[in-house]
């Protein structure tokens, strides 16, 4: 996905950019509202991540004029304020959702997904691998015309594997993608989700292979 990140803090901006690209997203980073306008004029984005306090103005004003101009790129606000009143005010201004700093990327991803799903999901197209079709936004895999719904963690696990077929992912790497960074990890957590996903993929030529002592990979048989 292609993100526009609007954040004036250099360290945070750079970190978020790096962190999102680790998940395979393309991120353009604007350090001011003017900068953001320039980016929006030349490129189209799946989602805008917007800070509120910026050197050349208030993110909420930007949001309001963004909505007045009937531009429909979804906006998730990164706010430093957590109070319920602020949340209500933000959503009233036209934000699709918000995350409170500091935020968890697994949660951000979940919110992005929810926003895109709510917006009708024109942003992403279905992927095909082997004999299956994968629609990440609808959270479904279709095998031989039969559609199965994936639960959130199965979906994210499959997303990681299908993005790089035949590549071996360690349990640790998969953990990082599936669990929030603050969450306690149990050794068999990944095994549980791999087991479930295998069940959903039954009947397909796509298989999740266990590479003993190393991890897992998606292969076509």
């Amino acid at each position: 996905m292609r993100f526009l990140l609007v954040e004036d803090n250099h360290d945070l901006g750079q970190s978020v950019q790096t962190r999102l690209s680790l998940d395979g997203h393309a991120v353009d980073w604007a350090v001011s509202l003017g900068d953001a306008e320039d980016h929006l004029a030349t490129a189209s984005y799946d989602l805008i991540l917007l800070d509120i306090m910026l050197p050349d103005g208030d993110g909420r004003d930007f949001l309001a004029s963004h909505r007045r101009a009937k531009r429909d790129t979804p906006v998730i606000v990164m706010t430093a304020r957590s109070a319920v009143a602020d949340r209500v005010a933000l959503l009233d201004t036209g934000a699709d959702d918000y995350v409170t700093k500091p935020f968890d990327f697994t949660e951000l991803e979940a919110r992005v997904r929810a926003v895109l799903r709510r917006r009708g999901g024109a942003a992403q197209t279905a992927l095909t691998y082997a004999d299956l079709t994968f629609d990440p936004l609808a959270a479904t895999v279709t095998i031989n015309g039969q559609t199965k719904e994936l639960r959130n963690r199965e979906l994210r696990l499959f997303e990681v594997l299908v993005a790089a077929p035949d590549r071996i992912f360690s349990k640790g790497q998969l953990c990082d993608r599936l669990l929030s960074a603050a969450e306690a990890v149990t050794d068999n957590a990944i095994e549980v989700y791999v087991g479930r996903l295998r069940k959903k993929l039954e009947g397909s030529r796509a298989k999740i292979e266990t590479v003993r002592g190393v991890g897992y990979r998606l292969t076509e048989t």
């Binding site: 945070l12 304020r81 957590s82 109070a83 209500v88 968890d104 990327f105 963690r153 960074a181 990890v185």
Partner: protein, 461 residues
């Protein structure tokens, strides 16, 4: 709590009392002056008749060689008789000798001044009599003699007229007083109307309404209005500064925290060293913990403030519950937790501050999601009877152990079995404070079959 102050007297009462006192004094003066004028008029009229009768008698005196001829004219007495049942007395003296009439009729103290009558009042024969006296010199036997003529009359008719006059004066005074009293009540009301309207307008304002008061008021109220608007402006300024301060403080604390967290996440991605990963996880957890505590502290302060200064409105509970649950669904989704809402179709409405209810709800649902295991189910059930809305949040998480609702709602108190779940110990305190403010009840207990059951009872509008 709202400050109840005891008023120091009432302007209206003071105004009415002062106006009534003034009216009473004026009514008294009116009574006295009307009576005095009337009495004087009656007396003057009476004296004129008495004087005319006396002079008429005196003029009929004829001196001669064989003595004094007195021919009392009938008309003189008929003049006096016309005034009613009064008795009339007369006395005529030649020198010091009474020649006819009542010899004991008292004489005036002062000397007489010819045919111009002198009047005086005196006690005589059991009554007060008004006497008119004149003197005249008459030639008797060739000698000039002073003849004095006194005519006296009782005052019965005069008193009757005076009493009538007095009654009328009293009626007039009383009428004036009643009229003035009614007028003063109206005046007090009309004078106080702008003040009352202003007070009413101020009372109608919600706690968030800090616009200056823009009303046309009488000149006398202008200083009050200026002071009021000045105060409102200062309050607004102070609040804005506080808001700005909180926003900037939050920004300057939370932005570096966010940077630390993101960088720790990145570092975690880039290492396979289990010890290092554990350390990074601890850093992330500590960041979450501090950010959360800061947020909850602020939320708690907001709840305490708003519980005092409530912005009450009619809140439909079901849409609010759905809205809050909806905002938690991505968080729940991350751990494959299912959020289920069971709310009746009928409208369940509360009269309360919407933000406070939302705060309580968010904390309960946040807890349920946080303490649930992955793949769990959280149920939010809304039901109602005639007086209360019942909101239950049920999970199959780790439960509350030996804790009870009173202990868990204490500030910064967390359950014994929270393990490594991030929390501030303020969530249930917020729920408890909101429930208290609305006059409902809050209970949290172990759910049958494992997990937690939180129950809110909120009084209906």
């Amino acid at each position: 709590m709202m400050t109840v102050f005891s008023p120091a007297g009432s302007i209206r009462r003071r105004l009415v009392v002062i106006l009534l006192v003034v009216a009473a004094v004026l009514a008294g003066l009116l009574f006295v002056s009307v009576r005095t004028v009337a009495n004087t008029a009656v007396e003057t009229t009476q004296d004129a008749i008495l004087g005319a009768a006396t002079v008429a008698i005196a003029e009929e005196l004829r001196g001669g060689e064989d003595g004094l001829t007195i021919d009392i004219p009938y008309a003189a007495f008929s003049m006096l008789g016309a005034t009613g049942q009064d008795r009339v007395f007369y006395r005529i003296l030649v020198g010091a000798e009474t020649v006819t009439g009542y010899a004991d009729l008292p004489l005036p103290d002062a000397p007489l001044s010819g045919l111009k009558p002198t009047f005086f009042s005196q006690q005589y024969d059991g009554d007060v009599v008004r006497t008119g006296a004149v003197s005249r010199s008459v030639l008797v036997d060739g000698r000039s003699q002073i003849v004095r003529v006194l005519v006296a009359q009782t005052r019965t008719a005069q008193d009757v007229i005076s009493r009538q006059m007095a009654n009328q004066a009293a009626a007039l005074g009383l009428g004036f007083f009643v009229f003035a009293a009614i007028l003063s009540i109206f005046t007090a009301r009309s004078v106080l109307t702008p003040l009352n309207r202003l007070a009413e307008a101020m009372g109608r304002r919600g706690p968030q309404d800090l616009r200056p008061v823009d009303r046309a008021v009488p000149t006398e109220l202008a200083p009050l209005m200026q002071a009021l608007n000045g105060f409102i402006a200062r309050l607004r300024g102070a609040l804005t500064r506080t808001e700005t301060f909180i926003t900037e403080a939050a920004h300057h604390v939370r932005t570096p925290l966010a940077t630390v967290r993101v960088q720790a996440e990145i570092a975690m991605r880039q290492t396979d060293d289990d010890a290092l990963r554990a350390t990074l996880r601890n850093i992330i957890r500590a960041v979450d913990d501090s950010a959360r505590s800061a947020g909850q502290l602020l939320d708690h302060a907001t709840v305490v403030y708003r519980a005092d200064q409530r912005a009450d409105e009619l809140v439909a509970l079901a849409p609010l519950v759905l809205d809050v649950v909806d905002s938690f669904s991505p968080t729940a989704d991350m751990r494959d937790i299912t959020l289920r809402v069971d709310a009746p179709d009928e409208v369940i409405a509360l009269q309360f501050d919407r933000l406070l209810i939302e705060s309580a709800l968010r904390n309960l649902i946040d807890n349920a999601v946080k303490y649930s295991y992955a793949d769990g189910i959280v149920d939010v059930q809304l039901s109602t009877d005639d007086t209360f809305a019942k909101l239950q949040v049920l999970d199959r998480g780790r439960g509350i152990g030996d804790g009870n609702s009173v202990q868990l709602a204490a500030r910064f108190k967390r359950g014994e079995n929270v393990g490594d779940v991030v929390g501030s110990g303020l969530g249930l305190t917020i729920v408890r404070d909101v429930t208290r403010a609305i006059g409902g009840s809050f209970d949290i207990k172990e759910r049958q079959g494992g997990g937690t059951c939180a129950i809110l009872l909120l009084p209906l509008a």
